[in-house]
Amino acid sequence: MTLRIILALLALLAGTTGQAGEYYDRYDLAARTQGFDIGLQPLGYPAAMIGATMRRDRILLQQLEKLGQPFRSFAFRRGPDIVKFLGKGRLEGGVLGDMPTITAAVQDEIDIVGIAKLTTSSVVSREQGLMEQLAGKRIGYVEGSSAHHALLQGLNSVGLSEKLVTLVAMGVDDMPDALDKGTIDAFAAWEPAPSIALARTPQNRIVFRAQSTDFFVLSRSFTKAHPEAAREVVAGFVRALEWMRRSRKNAEQAARWAMADGEALTGKPAQVTIIQAVAITRREILDIPSAPAVPAATGKEPVLASEFRFLRRLGKIPENAPWQNIESALSYNGLHEVLGNRARYRLVTFDYRD
C-alpha cells in the first residue's frame, strides 16, 4: 500500500513536471506558409527596444499585411530558443546573438540582415579584479551564448580553461541576483545584466569585456519565397533604429515598450531603468553610424570567424561545418537594397502605435 502511494506521488510529480514544459511551448508556432513570425528577446538590450519598436511599427504591419504575410512576434528568453524554430517554417526572423546566428547559419537556414548590437559581453565579478583570480570560482553563464564566448576568451587570455572554473548555467536576468546572494562568484552576460550588477554595489566590477554582436536575421526560406516582404521587414528594422536615433524621447519610449514586453514574458518588472536602457542602446547600436550594416573586415579575420572557431571547438557545431555557409548568410543584400531605396521603403517615415 505504501509503495503504491509513493509510486502515485512520483507519477504525479513527473506529470506536473512534464506539463510545465518550456515557456514557448504555449506559442502557436505551427509551421505555415504565409505570415511572418519573428522571435524577439525582450530581456536583452538593445534587442528588446528594437523588437519592441518593430512590432509596433504600423508601416511594417500594413506592408506585410498587404503582401499577405501578417506579422506576429513572439518573446524568447534566449537566442538558441529562437534558433530552434528558424528555417522550419515556424519562425521567419529573429534577433540573435553571434553564437546562435552562427549555429543557424551553419545549418544554411538564415540570411543575416545586419547588426542589432555591437557591444561587449562582460564578465562581472563580486570581488576579484582579475580574470586569473576566477580560477576555482563559480561563474554563471548561458551556454553557447556570446557571453559564454567572451568568458572563454577571457579565461584563455590568462591561461585558464573551463575546467578550472565552475560554470553555473542560468538565465541572464537571474545573474545579478545570484551574484548578490553569493550563489555565484561571477557571471558572463550581455547588457543590461552587467550594468545592473555594477549599479547595485561598488564591490561588483567588470573584469573582462569582449566584443559581441547581435544580428537581425531572416530565414532563408522566407527571403527566397517572399523577397519583397523580407525587404519590408528589413526596412522596419532600419526604421526602428532611425526612429530611436532621432531623439532621446523616442529612445525612452522604445525602452518603455521593451520593459513592458519583458515584464510580460517574465512576470517580473525590468531590472534596468529607462536611462540605463537608453544608454545601453545608444552606446551599443544607435551611436554606431554604420549600423545596422555589418562592419567590414579591417584586414584581419572576417566577421564571426573567431566565434565560428569557438563553437566548433566546443562542439556546438559540427567539426566539418562549412564556413561558406556563414559567408553565404553574410552575403544577403537586403539591407543594401533597402538603404539604396530610402524613399520607397520609407526609412524616415515613422508611425508607431503605443
Binding site: I115, L118, T120, S122, V123, G129, L130, M131, E132, Q153, G154, S157, V158, R205, I206, V207, F208, R209, A210, Q211, R283, D287, I288, P289, S290, A291, A293, P295, T298, G299, L335, H336, L339, G340, R342, A343, L347
Partner: protein, 799 residues
C-alpha cells in the same frame, strides 16, 4: 639553586625561549597573513588589497580615459555631424552641383566660417576642414586655401563614400604626425551623397587628460597607451620616460577589455588594463595602462619592512619582559625546588618559606600545598616506618618459624635461583654439606658442591631447565661435595619455581643423604655376592677360634694340670712332711724334724709364690691392679733385684753382671718394675748353666710408640741376657702367654708359666714393650723398653 641565577636550563629561560619563539613565529605568521592573506578563508592580504587597489585605480583611470576619449570623439563626431547636417552647407553644395555661379566661393566661404568657428571653440583640435566631391574625390572647399581641386586618393575616402557608411573615422599619417579624420556624408533629403565633409583633427592627447592625482597613482613605472584598431600607437603617456616617449610595447590583446598580469619587455611583471574605445563600427581603439606590479607594491614593501622591524623589536622587548617576569615567578619555584632537594637529602624538617607559600596566587597555593604534602608524607612515613618495622618483625618471626619448619625436616631442603646460586638451605642441608648458612647463601651451587666431574653436565641441564629447553627431572641421585671435601650421595626430588607468567625462576630441591644406605647396600651386595666366601672365612675363623679355644682349653688343662701339680706338689710336700712330723716328730732327730719343717716351709713358700703369681696375673688381666707411678731409678731397682737374687745365683754358680748406668731416672711403679726385673733375672738364673754370666744392661733410648709419630719420647731399654739354651724358634711370642712355657721349661726348669705373662702385663701398663729373642752369643735375651714419662700420668695415680 639560587633563584637569582639564570642557567640555560632554567624554567625562566625556557619560558622566555618558548614564548620568544612563539612570539616571533606569531609575529611572522601575522605578518605573512597580513601580507598574503589566507586564500582558503577568503582573507585577503595587504598585497592582494594593494594590487586590487592598483587594479581598481587602473580600471578607474582606464574607465575615465575611456570616457574622456570616447567623449572627445563623441564631441568631434557630433561637431562634424552637426556641420554635415547643416542646411546651409547642404544648400551650398546643391548650388555648387547645379553649377550656380559663385557657389564654389560661397561654399569655400562657408567652410572657412565653419573652420573658424571650430577653431575658436576647440583650440588646436581641428587642423582643417575639407569638402570632397564624391564623384571626383577632389577637394571642393577647404579651410586650407591651397586644398581645393586637389585629389585625395586615400582609402578612407572610399570607405566614407560607402552608401551605408554615413560616418567614417580613420587615422592617417599627416605632415606633422598622425591625424584623426572624421568623414561624414553630406546627404540630401533623399539620402543622396552630396559630398563628404572631412574634419582633420589632432589625435587625442593622453597627457591632457591625466590629472595630477592620476599622475601620482601611476607611480614610477606607469604608462598609458592608445592604439588604433590596427595596432598603431595613437598617443602615449609615460612618466619619466626620457627618450622612450612615443615608444610603446606592442599590443598584446585586441578587442577585449580587462586587467591582466603581463611580462613587460624588461622582464618584469606588469599590470595591464585594456579598454576599447568605440570608433565607428570597427574594433575601435585600444587604451592600455601598464604599470610594474612591483611599483604598485612599493608602498607595501616599505610598510612591510617597517612593520617587520617593529615586530622584531617588539618581540625582543616582549621576550625580555617575559624572561624577567618568568624569573620572578620561577624564583619562587626555585625556592620550592631547593626545599624539595633538601628533603630528598633527608632534611625532612625543611618547608617552603612562608614568603612563598603565603602568596595568594597559584604558586603560593602550590607552595602551601607542597608544605602540607611534606607534612603528610612525613606523618605517613612515620606510620609506614612503624608498620614496616612491625611487619619486619613479623616477617622475621615468620621466616624463623618457616626456617624452623624447614630445619625440622630430616632431609636437605635447598633453593637455587635462576643463576644456580643458593638462596635457602635448611639445617639438615647444612649438616649434610658441613657448612653454616653464611657459608652457602649466595654461593654457586655447582661450583661449590657438585663434583667437578659432573659439574659441567649438571649445570648445563639446570640452565636448559631455566630457559625452558628441557623439563625438570624430579627424581634423581647425584653426589655432592661437603665443605671438608668428602662426597655424599644424595637422592634429589626437585620442583620448579616459576613466576606468575610461568617463567622458571629457580628450583626447590629436597635431598636425602643416601651415602650410608648406598654403602650398606654395597656392603650387603658384597656380602650377598661373597656370602660363601664369608661363610668359608668364618668357618676358618671359627675353626681357628675353636683351635684357639682348644689350645686355650688345653693350656687351661695344662695350666690346671700344672697348677694342680704345682699346687699339689708343694702341698704334698707340706702335708707329707707335716704328716711325717706328726708321725715321726717324736722319733726323729731334731735335725730331721728341722729338715721336715724346712721342706714344709719351702713348699709353703712355693705354694705361696704360685698363689701370688696367680693372684697378680688375675689382677693384671682384670685391670684391678693399679700402678703407683712415682719418680724412681731403674738402676737402683735393677741393683735391688740382683741383690735379692744374688744368693740364688751364687747357689747356681751364676754371676750377675750389671752393665747399665748408675742412674736411670724414670717414672714407674717401683715394686712392679722390681717384680719384672726379679722375674727376668730369676728366669735367667734358672736357665743359665753354672759358671755363666747373666748380663743386665739398661740404656736411654728414644721411644717411637707410633710409626706415624715424627718425634719419639725418652725412655729406657733394659736387657737381660742369660747363657742358657735360648728360646726355641717360633716361641718368642708364645712364651709370654699364660701357662705357656717354652719347650725348654718343660725339661726341669720349673716355674708356673705366669712370670713372663705378668711381666708383659706390667710393662704394657707402663706403655712399654717386652720382647724375647736369642742373643747372638747364645742364650735368651729379654728386652723391655719403657718411657721415662708415660703419658697421662698423675703422680701416684693410674694411667
Amino acid at each position: 639553586m639560587p633563584a637569582g641565577k639564570l642557567k640555560p636550563t632554567t624554567l625562566s629561560s625556557r619560558i622566555g625561549l618558548v614564548f620568544g619563539t612563539g612570539a616571533v613565529l606569531t609575529v611572522a605568521i601575522l605578518l605573512l597573513v597580513w601580507y598574503f592573506g589566507i586564500p582558503a578563508l577568503a582573507l585577503h592580504g595587504a598585497r592582494d588589497r594593494l594590487i586590487q587597489e592598483a587594479i581598481n585605480f587602473q580600471n578607474q583611470l582606464a574607465d575615465n580615459q575611456q570616457m574622456l576619449i570616447s567623449n572627445d570623439l563623441r564631441e568631434r563626431r557630433d561637431d562634424v555631424e552637426f556641420f554635415a547636417e547643416s542646411d546651409t552647407l547642404a544648400a551650398r553644395l546643391r548650388d555648387w552641383r547645379e553649377g550656380k555661379q559663385g557657389a564654389a566661393a560661397s561654399l569655400q566661404s562657408t567652410v572657412g566660417r565653419l573652420s573658424e568657428r571650430m577653431q575658436s571653440a576647440y583650440t588646436d583640435r581641428y587642423l582643417r576642414l575639407q569638402i570632397i566631391d564624391p564623384r571626383t574625390r577632389r577637394i571642393i572647399a577647404s579651410s586650407d586655401a591651397s586644398d581645393p581641386g586637389r585629389a585625395i586618393p586615400a582609402h578612407w575616402v572610399e570607405q566614407a563614400l560607402l552608401p551605408n557608411n554615413s560616418e567614417h573615422l580613420s587615422l592617417e599619417a599627416g605632415s606633422d604626425g598622425l591625424e584623426l579624420i572624421i568623414a561624414r556624408q553630406v546627404q540630401d533629403p533623399d539620402g543622396h551623397i552630396l559630398a563628404v565633409l572631412a574634419a582633420y583633427a589632432q589625435p587625442y592627447e593622453l597627457d591632457a587628460g591625466i590629472s595630477p592625482l592620476a599622475e601620482h597613482n601611476l607611480g614610477q613605472t606607469g604608462a598609458i597607451y592608445l592604439y588604433d584598431w590596427q595596432g598603431y600607437l595613437v598617443s602615449s603617456h609615460q612618466r619619466h620616460s626620457g627618450d622612450v616617449r612615443g615608444a610603446a610595447q606592442p599590443l598584446n590583446r585586441h578587442g577585449i577589455e580587462g586587467s591582466f598580469f603581463e611580462t613587460g619587455p624588461n622582464g618584469r611583471e606588469q599590470l595591464a588594463t585594456y579598454r576599447l574605445i568605440r570608433v565607428g563600427a570597427s574594433e575601435g581603439w585600444t587604451l592600455v595602462i601598464r604599470r610594474d606590479t612591483s611599483d604598485a607594491l612599493t608602498p607595501l614593501h616599505g610598510l612591510a619592512f617597517r612593520a617587520s622591524l617593529f615586530a622584531l623589536v617588539l618581540s625582543a622587548i616582549l621576550i625580555l619582559v617575559v624572561i624577567v617576569l618568568a624569573r620572578r615567578i620561577t624564583a619562587r619555584i626555585s625556592a620550592m625546588t631547593d626545599v624539595a632537594e633538601a628533603i630528598a637529602r633527608g632534611e625532612t624538617e625543611r618547608r617552603v618559606p612562608a614568603a612563598v607559600a603565603n602568596r595568594n596566587d597559584d604558586i603560593g597555593h602550590l607552595a602551601a600545598v607542597f608544605n602540607t604534602m611534606v607534612e603528610k608524607l612525613e606523618s605517613w612515613n612515620a606510620v609506614l616506618d612503624r608498620e614496616v618495622r612491625k611487619r619486619t618483625v613479623e616477617l622475621d618471626a615468620e621466616k624463623a618459624a618457616a626456617q624452623r619448619y624447614l630445619d625440622i625436616a630430616a632431609v636437605m631442603l635447598l633453593a637455587l635461583d635462576r643463576n644456580g646460586r643458593i638462596t635457602m638451605i635448611n639445617q639438615a642441608g647444612k649438616v649434610i654439606l658441613g657448612v653454616t648458612e653464611s657459608d652457602v647463601i649466595g654461593r654457586d651451587w655447582f661450583a661449590s658442591f657438585v663434583p667437578e666431574r659432573l659439574r659441567a653436565s649438571v649445570r648445563d641441564v639446570f640452565l636448559r631447565l631455566m630457559t625452558g629447553e628441557t623439563e625438570i627431572v624430579r627424581n634423581y641421585e647425584n653426589p655432592v661435595i661437603r665443605l671438608d671435601g668428602r662426597e655424599r650421595e644424595i637422592a634429589w626430588r626437585n620442583i620448579l619455581i616459576t613466576d606468575e607468567a610461568g617463567h622458571a625462576q629457580g628450583i626447590l630441591a629436597c635431598g636425602i643423604d643416601i651415602t650410608d644406605r648406598k654403602a650398606t647396600d654395597a656392603e650387603l651386595a658384597r656380602h650377598r655376592a661373597h656370602l660363601e666366601e664369608l661363610v668359608g672365612e668364618r668357618t676358618t675363623q671359627l675353626a681357628e677360634a675353636r683351635d684357639q679355644a682348644e689350645a686355650a682349653n688345653r693350656a687351661k688343662s695344662e695350666f690346671l694340670a700344672n697348677m694342680s701339680h704345682e699346687l699339689r706338689t708343694p702341698m704334698h710336700g707340706v702335708l707329707s712332711f707335716a704328716r711325717l712330723g706328726q708321725t715321726r716328730a717324736a722319733s726323729l732327730p731334731p735335725e730331721k724334724v728341722q729338715e721336715y719343717f724346712t721342706h714344709i716351709a719351702d713348699s709353703g713358700n712355693r705354694l705361696l709364690s704360685l698363689l701370688n703369681d696367680l693372684l697378680d696375673l688375675s689382677k693384671l688381666e682384670s685391670g684391678h691392679m693399679h700402678m703407683n707411678y712415682s719418680s724412681t731409678d731403674l738402676a737402683t731397682i735393677a741393683r735391688e733385684a740382683v741383690s735379692q737374687l744374688s744368693a740364688l745365683a751364687a747357689g747356681r754358680g751364676v754371676r750377675l753382671l750389671i752393665e747399665g748406668s748408675d742412674v736411670a731416672p724414670l717414672s714407674a711403679d717401683r715394686e712392679r718394675l722390681l717384680q719384672v726385673m726379679t722375674n727376668l733375672i730369676g728366669n735367667a738364673i734358672k736357665f743359665t748353666a753354672a759358671d755363666s754370666v747373666i748380663r743386665i744392661n739398661w740404656a736411654a733410648i728414644e721411644m717411637m710408640p707410633d710409626a706415624s709419630d715424627a718425634h719419639g719420647s725418652p725412655g729406657w731399654r733394659v736387657t737381660v741376657i742369660d747363657a742358657g739354651p735360648g728360646i726355641p724358634a717360633g716361641e718368642e711370642e708364645a712364651i709370654f702367654d699364660k701357662f705357656v712355657q717354652s719347650s725348654g721349661t718343660s725339661t726341669g726348669a720349673g716355674g708356673t708359666g705366669l712370670g713372663l705373662a705378668i711381666c708383659r702385663e706390667i710393662i704394657s701398663r707402663h706403655h712399654g714393650r717386652i720382647t724375647a729373642s736369642n742373643a747372638p752369643e747364645g742364650g735368651a735375651c729379654f728386652t723391655f723398653a719403657l718411657p721415662s714419662d708415660p703419658p697421662t700420668i698423675e703422680e701416684g695415680g693410674n694411667p
